[in-house]
Symmetry: C3
Subunit: 270 residues, 3 copies
């Protein structure tokens, strides 16, 4: 699949034109920053957790993001229910398996979600994706610790296995829909020091799958956007408070010119 910066740029325009409503069932650490990130890029956020309103909320939503960062048994049930309604309404679902590998509960919930819900994109760090695939990698809680030899193979294999686009975030992001593979070299280490950067990335991809049925392209657009905003923020400051402010400033001023100037991605031939 040949993808140029112009393809990603079109997604920016579509996003601003359609202002999709992204429903997030996410963790309590990142709710505020996730909502602000979606607003900053031109989408609309909603967070809803009650099973009694799940059908109603899904019926007005354009995408669903499931993030297990602070899951409980009840939340898993709500996620499965939301996924069922999303399948029925045919809206795309993003899955962020935060901390997969760190507990049996997270592993089991991840498997249940992957088995029962049609997922457009799965986005996680290296150890989360490896654990999801069945390779036991050590985690540092919700941060990645272990390494796999072949990230490209892992992304491609998992994508084929579960029929989703898979994005492994890291110093280099790897995105695969099972047949095509892309690598993204945008980003900065400062992003790993801001809590929720990965979670935000998943929700931003939720905004792009809402307007782009090519999930690999949607995922790529999100990964490049987050990466560039991290880079530009880090140029201003790598200090914790200022970096956060600059990151959000860049989200809200992101545009086609910036995309063309800074995008660093390529198709990986394999």
């Amino acid at each position: 699949m040949n993808l140029s910066v112009n393809d990603l740029s079109s997604n920016l325009e579509l996003l601003k034109k359609h202002n999709p409503l992204v429903h997030n069932i996410t963790n309590v650490v990142v709710t505020n920053v996730t909502a602000n990130a979606l607003l900053a890029i031109g989408a609309s956020p909603i967070m809803a957790y009650a099973k009694e309103e799940m059908e109603d909320i899904i019926s007005i939503s354009d995408a669903l993001v499931l993030n297990i960062g602070t899951l409980t048994k009840d939340i898993i049930d709500v996620m499965l229910l939301a996924g069922k309604y999303a399948d029925k309404k045919k809206i795309p679902v993003i899955f962020d398996p935060v901390g997969a590998g760190a507990s049996g509960l997270r592993n089991d919930a991840s498997k249940e979600i992957v088995s029962n819900i049609k997922l457009a994109i799965i986005r996680g760090n290296e150890s989360e994706i490896a654990n999801l695939y069945g390779v036991k990698l050590e985690t540092k809680g919700v941060d990645s610790k272990g390494h796999v030899e072949d990230k490209i193979g892992l992304a491609k294999e998992l994508a084929l296995k579960v029929s989703s686009t898979v994005c492994i975030s890291g110093k280099e992001d790897i995105i695969s829909d099972g047949s095509n593979v892309f690598s993204v070299k945008n980003g900065d280490a400062a992003l790993t020091k801001m809590t929720g950067a990965g979670c935000i990335s998943s929700s931003v991809m939720g905004a792009f799958v809402a307007i782009d049925k090519n999930y690999a392209k949607a995922s790529l657009t999100g990964a490049v956007l987050i990466g560039i905003c991290g880079e530009l923020a880090a140029l201003k400051s790598k200090l914790s408070g200022s970096f956060q402010v600059e990151f959000f400033n860049n989200l809200s001023s992101f545009n086609s010119d910036i995309l063309h100037k800074y995008a660093k991605f390529e198709e990986v031939c394999r």
Copy 2:
């Protein structure tokens, strides 16, 4: 009712003098920013969600804010219980019907709260207030989408129907206690791009009703304060991160001089 800027200015002084404790049963997206906003203007926040401590917490609180942004069945029960104790202790209650119209659960919970709790102020956006009144307006999740012909009539009618002061937030805020109507022209579109601006506004009104039994005046003070802080922040920056920082800076440096210089409200004769 003749209200001058001086009347609002007196409320600022009373707030700083009495430092009221505002109890918030609010959504998980805005807890942190709500607490910081209350601290910034000179009030004290508390958030408590356990039914077992509701009576104790209400007994030390000066106002109660109910916000259904991320409600569950349990939270609805806790809100009804908190409202009962607030009625008993005669402390004012603010209701923010976040996302009313977006789900049956939110509609039902809103009706139950309005029917069972004596409310000092109901604050919401146009579609939330319309849905509460029984006019079915389309929502964009938790954001307003539809429009009513006559916002002034809506505010006045709902205020009469439920015996509360009603504040419809928007480009122009409309506040009515059923007999008087005020319009506020302070504010900036950047506020709609910061998650929780409305929720913060409700909690800030909670701080003012704690020290002012004239609920229309208390609501007006809150609406003007939030509007001006949004305006002044937007003068510095409309970028997502910087706007938030500036908004909170303005909350914490707000004073009588700024109020006199920037307040834009008037009584609407009807």
Copy 3:
């Protein structure tokens, strides 16, 4: 116990070297800022609330922080369970009795936690610690209101009674392990206007007890670090938004030189 700035400085190095994983069962108001604070100083945060994964999460954690700021009956059970696993694995536990004195539920939960879990450090404000000791002091919700005559005596007595290090935060912090007492004069009033400053302080102490078995020294390191970061932030700005940004900037740039230049603590001879 003779403690010099060099002892605290060694803790900074150990923290950065070992990058401990700190598990927080904390309140919904402060989750985001707590995670960012831990990342900023060089630790790793995890937040997990499901009883089903508590054993797994504790097994990979280096310290546990229990904070009852927005507790429910379920959360109390989860905390007791987490504490049991922490005892078993011998990882240190920090307890932050937010709002102790404000409700029977918080008092009862605090007593249950103190009775059933071996605590490395208890950190709270004056009224929380007094209430924990059994002296009924008035609270302003989650903020301290009453005063005790003898803070040093209180810290020492409670430390002896419960066999923990006790830190009473305030204008002057008092830390005692029952035999030694330290006072810290770093800090700024602006910290009391930022929600979660105390909660952050508890979690930061969680990072230090993970790498220092001398709990009084670990607590002292945390208190001095938070105090200095508050002071330096306040030098830049006391406005709500900017102060927060500067506080986090200082957390992430804190180092041995800053510690040596600004630390103000002393052993209190009693």
